[in-house]
């Protein structure tokens, strides 16, 4: 069967070319200070370092798994820096850049992958929900949360909106389409941000869709746009506008950030089984950090000392993260029963008590360590 996937070259919003040149876009004018640009650069470099460290920590056995964001830094940092404190983001499991921008300390992310927690941070504190692993599920949570914002009357110019992150693969999941429907008919203030990183584990987008994803939105009755996902400025400008429109009552929008997963799906994955090195080379030329640096250098936005300083900040961050990872506290056995229910629950309480006794019996058994 021939798959007429027809992924031509659709319109793609790009403000910063791979060579570091700025391009104006009529719909997405960029208002940004040089200070902010330096901030974005720093973000990109630091989250990439967090990622590199985490991959290394996994190799050393300190983490059970890691899902690398390599290549997707711009999509994440740009969009997350477009958020306000009162906004809420619902990530999938690869949004380390989003977490960074929302102020979640990197070590908090490691907990899940080290297996010492299933979550790690308080979503209300950071405006970032916990990672969601079952593909697509969070798109509905985000939509419901946005419906709550409407009911709170917390919309308007200074109001709140929601962003839901998901992947190209996730677009196939029924939940994602249902989220589009609920968001559309409720005119909910939610922005759907898809990082189309060209892969869902081993499957390319033509296994998930026949036409570019951003067009899906129109069929549900809201606008969709494709952006250069390796362009942090496009990601920032387009997300900012989408969030503002959502806050102001114009309803949902879909942003498809066209990017690339430079690493393996996770540290468990072996991409050599399904993709050719040439593809990587092509995308290396579009690297999000290099192009911003080129731009900053060309425009004199920062000098070598700045870049050196960011580099050493990254070194310090890496060092700190390695130490923090190793000292993440292990959970205690009885944590199994912790917060399963808010109210006392006879079933759980009994099992906890019995298990405590059981554990104590080993201690009683003394140095022999039980059976």
């Amino acid at each position: 069967m021939s798959n007429n996937t027809a992924h031509g070259e659709p319109e793609l919003v790009q403000l910063l070319t791979p060579d570091g040149e700025l391009r104006d876009h009529p719909d997405y004018p960029l208002e940004i200070s040089t200070e902010e640009i330096r901030g974005l650069y720093r973000d990109l470099v630091l989250v990439r370092r967090v990622d590199t460290e985490a991959v290394a920590l996994q190799r050393q056995g300190e983490l059970g798994l890691w899902a690398s964001l390599l290549g997707q830094e711009a999509a994440q940092i740009g969009s997350a820096r477009a958020l306000r404190p009162q906004d809420m983001a619902f990530p999938s499991y690869r949004e380390h850049g989003v977490a960074w921008a929302r102020g979640v300390a990197p070590k908090e992310l490691l907990g899940l992958f080290r297996g010492v927690t299933n979550g790690g941070w308080d979503p209300a504190q950071y405006g970032l929900h916990l990672y969601t692993i079952v593909i697509g599920s969070q798109t509905l949570h985000a939509t419901g949360y946005a419906m709550g914002i409407q009911r709170d009357g917390a919309t308007g110019e200074d109001g709140s909106a929601v962003v839901a992150y998901f992947g190209d693969g996730a677009s196939s999941q029924g939940d994602t389409s249902e989220a589009f429907t609920f968001a559309a008919v409720n005119n909910a203030p939610v922005v759907f941000f898809c990082q189309n990183n060209q892969w869902a584990i081993s499957e390319p987008p033509d296994r998930q869709m026949r036409v570019p994803l951003y067009r899906r939105a129109a069929g549900f009755g809201f606008p969709g746009v494709r952006i250069d996902g390796n362009d942090v400025l496009a990601s920032l400008a387009v997300t900012r506008k989408a969030m503002q429109q959502a806050r102001e009552g114009q309803g949902p929008m879909l942003i498809e950030a066209f990017t690339y997963r430079m690493g393996a799906h996770t540290t468990n994955d072996d991409p050599t089984r399904y993709r050719v090195p040439a593809e990587l080379e092509e995308w290396k030329a579009k690297d999000p950090i290099l192009r911003l640096r080129a731009h900053m250098q060309a425009q004199g936005i920062a000098g070598d000392d700045f870049f050196t300083e960011v580099e050493s900040e990254a070194d310090r961050l890496g060092e700190q993260l390695r130490a923090e990872c190793r000292s993440l506290p292990d959970p205690a056995p009885l944590d199994i029963f912790h917060e399963v229910y808010a109210e006392p629950n006879t079933q759980i309480d009994l099992q906890r008590a019995e298990f405590a006794d059981y554990l104590a019996s080993f201690e009683d058994a003394g140095a022999e360590g039980g059976r």
Partner: protein
């Protein structure tokens, strides 16, 4: 004020009271608005509380539960109506993997006080997928509380308790008993109501404990009345997760025999779990094995066969007889 209410109207009254006392309580589902739900359980709520609090959702159960989770994360208390038992299944992922796990995975940072109302069970002559008894799936899912009611008084109070509970609650409504009536004191203090997790001795007896819940309680009571030779105690379980074993055990230790009746297929049903637990905790008190009476291990049949498929008075008494042959 004591009023004579059907189970359906008692739930309606309970929903209304909950919505009045807490503006965060929402009702959502298919046709819950102007229609008042296909069983009219949300009748008039849309008119009185408006479309923002009584939400006619798109026809998508995963979407209903998924957005309810989001609303709960924003501080709301959504009460979702799943139109019929057989239409819950598209929402399984959101319920079992998201709703049930949210609190623990966040170490308590997140609370998702969502209530799922599910009219369940057969006996109404319906077509396929309208007569299922899926409660065992839920009771096997950690993180959910699972309750059901058998009369209007419990219906009125337990729906309110379910809504105020900080834990997600699956609230099973015995659809073929929706029109059963009882006197309900709707002005009583909530404190006067029994705890949501507790079982209830619905009829006292000394020779055998007959345990039932939801729609089967009425049948069980009828069976107990019909049984003239032995004195049957009937326990209405009410909470299916957690089970109030203290009450069940106390009863079984007195009677020495236990029969469990439910509409769900026997294999893998609630009855097996209770039987296993009670056998372990009351081993020396049981004079016969626990006998289970339920539907057969087949798909729910066409309605002309449902009277044979579902346990009825005769099948329950047959189970009682069997318990006395040991």
């Amino acid at each position: 004020m004591s009023v004579n209410l059907t189970i359906g109207k008692a739930i309606n009254a309970g929903l209304r009271r909950a919505m009045e006392s807490d503006p965060k309580v929402l009702v959502m589902g298919e046709d819950v608005g102007r229609l008042g739900g296909v069983f009219r359980v949300t009748d008039q709520l849309h008119k009185d509380f408006g479309a923002d609090r009584v939400i006619d959702t798109p026809l998508a159960e995963s979407g209903i539960v998924g957005t309810a989770i989001g609303l709960a994360l924003r501080g709301y208390r959504p009460v979702c109506e799943i139109q019929f038992d057989g239409f819950f299944f598209p929402a399984t992922n959101q319920t079992f993997s998201q709703l049930a796990k949210m609190r623990r995975r966040s170490a308590g940072a997140l609370s998702v006080p969502v209530v799922l109302r599910i009219p369940y069970g057969g006996g109404i002559g319906a077509v396929e997928h309208h007569s299922e008894s899926p409660e065992a799936y839920f009771a096997h899912t950690a993180g959910l509380r699972v309750v059901t009611v058998a009369n209007a008084v419990d219906a009125y109070w337990m729906i309110q308790q379910a809504i105020t509970s900080p834990d997600p609650v699956v609230f099973f409504e015995p659809k073929r008993r929706y029109y059963d009536k009882a006197e309900v004191d709707t002005d009583a203090s909530p404190d006067s109501a029994a705890a949501m997790g507790s079982a209830r001795i619905a009829r006292q007896g000394s020779d055998l404990t007959l345990l039932a819940y939801g729609p089967m309680v009425k049948t069980a009571l009828q069976a107990a009345e019909a049984e003239t030779e032995r004195s049957i105690e009937v326990v209405d379980l009410r909470s299916l997760a957690p089970v109030d074993y203290a009450t069940v055990e106390e009863s079984v230790r007195r009677t020495g025999r236990l029969v469990i009746a439910h509409e769900a297929p026997v294999t893998g049903g609630i009855g097996g779990e209770v039987a296993a637990r009670i056998t372990e905790s009351c081993f020396y008190h049981l004079e016969s094995p626990v006998i289970r009476v339920g539907a057969f291990d087949t798909p729910y049949p066409q309605s002309r066969l449902e009277e044979h498929y579902l346990p009825d008075l005769d099948r329950i008494l047959d189970g009682v007889d069997r318990a006395f042959t040991y």
